[in-house]
Amino acid sequence: MEEEILVSGRMNQLIDPQLNIWHWQIPLYLFLGGMAAGILCIAALYFIRGRENDYRTAVRITPFLAPFLLVIGLLTLFIDLRHKLFFWQLYTNIRLQSPMSWGAWTLMVITPVSFIWCALHIRDIFPRWDWKFKWICDIETFFNKYKKALAWIMLIYGIILGIYTGILLSAFNARPLWNTSILGPLFLSSGLSAGAAATLILSKDKAERKQFARIDLVLIGIELFFIIHMFMGFLASTQVQIEAAKLFLGGPYTMSFWIFVVTMGMLIPALLEFMELGKFHIPAIVPAVLVIFGSLMLRFIIAYAGQISRWLY
């Protein structure tokens, strides 16, 4: 037999017996960030393509969720910090090799942008809104003039944010389950599909709903493709990656992953949306909520499972 023991009885909290440094805060933050990114990307994309009026909800209404998601996300990130009074150090340093630094700065850009975007569309929600001060109106005019540029910034930073939620984890060589570059695109597509689902819930326009059901269907297909790809990559790799994949293929996270993420979060909503596109009448909220739930669970399960995935030595 083989035996490996810590004779010095090491029991560092949050490290032993296995890494347990990140709890609900980080996966929730990754989910909120990802969903906000999805919403903003979709809004920006349709605006740039001049389809603002076809997809009014997606461009003008759904983005109102984004600032809330981002602020709550930032808050959970802040709660997760253990040396909170020094959080400002994030913004006195630019660390090009640190995904966390990228993320902090990306949020620094996209959060105000999302606020501005909402401000530009505030009258879609409160038709009699008045900014009261002239200088604010001037600013509004300025941004309205450069709305296209703003949309481009929002699109680019949205994509960075969406990918970043995955890269944050995939940059950790030490945790083989996370250490796959598929995680970036997977989380981006998951965020986009959650964003699309948000519009699906909010939209009252049948055509728009149909379009977003279609988008969601495609995104779910892409996600499934990435997941299959991820496992193929793991299983064809070294022992540590094989062990990592086994966490989901017979290991402790098998049930939760395949039931919550894949079945409930992808297959069932895909089926429902497929039926919706056909003749069946399905309340749009059901698949949309399932997609959002699946997207949330994906972050949680990957974040937790990754912490028990380790190198063997």
């Binding site: 037999m1 083989e2 035996e3 490996e4 023991i5 810590l6 004779v7 010095s8 009885g9 090491r10 029991m11 560092n12 909290q13 949050l14 490290i15 032993d16 890494l19 440094i21 990140w22 997760d80 910090l81 253990r82 040396h83 909170k84 020094f86 959080f87 150090q89 994030l90 006195t92 340093n93 660390r95 090799q97 640190s98 995904p99 966390m100 630094s101 993320g103 902090a104 944050l168 940059a171 950790f172 060589n173 030490a174 945790r175 070294t238 912490q307 380790r310 190198w311 030595y313």
Partner: protein
């Protein structure tokens, strides 16, 4: 200058003195440690072999913790020693997650803490506390660029290995086998 440490697994008895010495020297709070001792056993009775290793931060040349730190709190000091500047650390835990050796831990005061190779001792010409206390003298410390340093000499004389070299971190904690 390139500081490194070599631990002789043939002499180490796993007494964990290094761990206590580090704890008192560096005021590491109870319930935490900057270093630890691993014992591995292989075989079937009575054909057995064990290996005992006193482990700590590997002060990697390609340190993932320094790379992923968003504030630069984790940094390289002279001689490649990986340090955490407490007042720059926000306690995000990224470095802890990034370390394949699990060598870092969150200090109860919030910042992340780890082995410093006892830089405060090295600077005044003392060996790190673990090396100075080890009853079996199995911990060698010194500058790899100095061919006459304890660690250079012993690494030249003996076969050695590092942990998880395939992680690409270029660890500077060697184990004599």
């Amino acid at each position: 200058m390139r500081y490194a440490m070599a631990v002789d697994t043939r002499k180490c008895v796993g007494c964990s003195d290094c761990v206590v010495a580090c704890q008192t020297e560096n005021n590491v709070p109870h319930g935490f440690c900057r270093e630890w001792v691993v014992e591995t056993m292989n075989g079937t009775y009575p054909q057995l072999e064990i290996e005992i290793r006193s482990e700590r931060c590997n002060h990697c040349i390609n340190a993932p913790c320094v790379r992923c730190c968003p504030t630069g709190a984790s940094h390289f000091a002279d001689g490649g020693i990986v340090l955490v500047e407490h007042n720059k650390c926000i306690g995000c835990g990224a470095c802890i997650a990034s370390c394949p050796y699990d060598a870092r831990y969150p200090h109860p005061e919030g910042y992340v803490d780890k082995c410093t190779f006892c830089i405060h001792r090295i600077k005044i010409g003392l060996a790190p506390a673990c090396a100075a206390v080890c009853p079996t003298k199995c911990i060698y410390f010194g500058d790899l660029d100095d061919l006459n340093s304890d660690v250079s000499v012993v690494l030249k004389k003996r076969k050695s290995k590092t942990l998880i070299p395939e992680a690409g971190t270029k660890p500077q904690l060697y184990f004599l086998i």
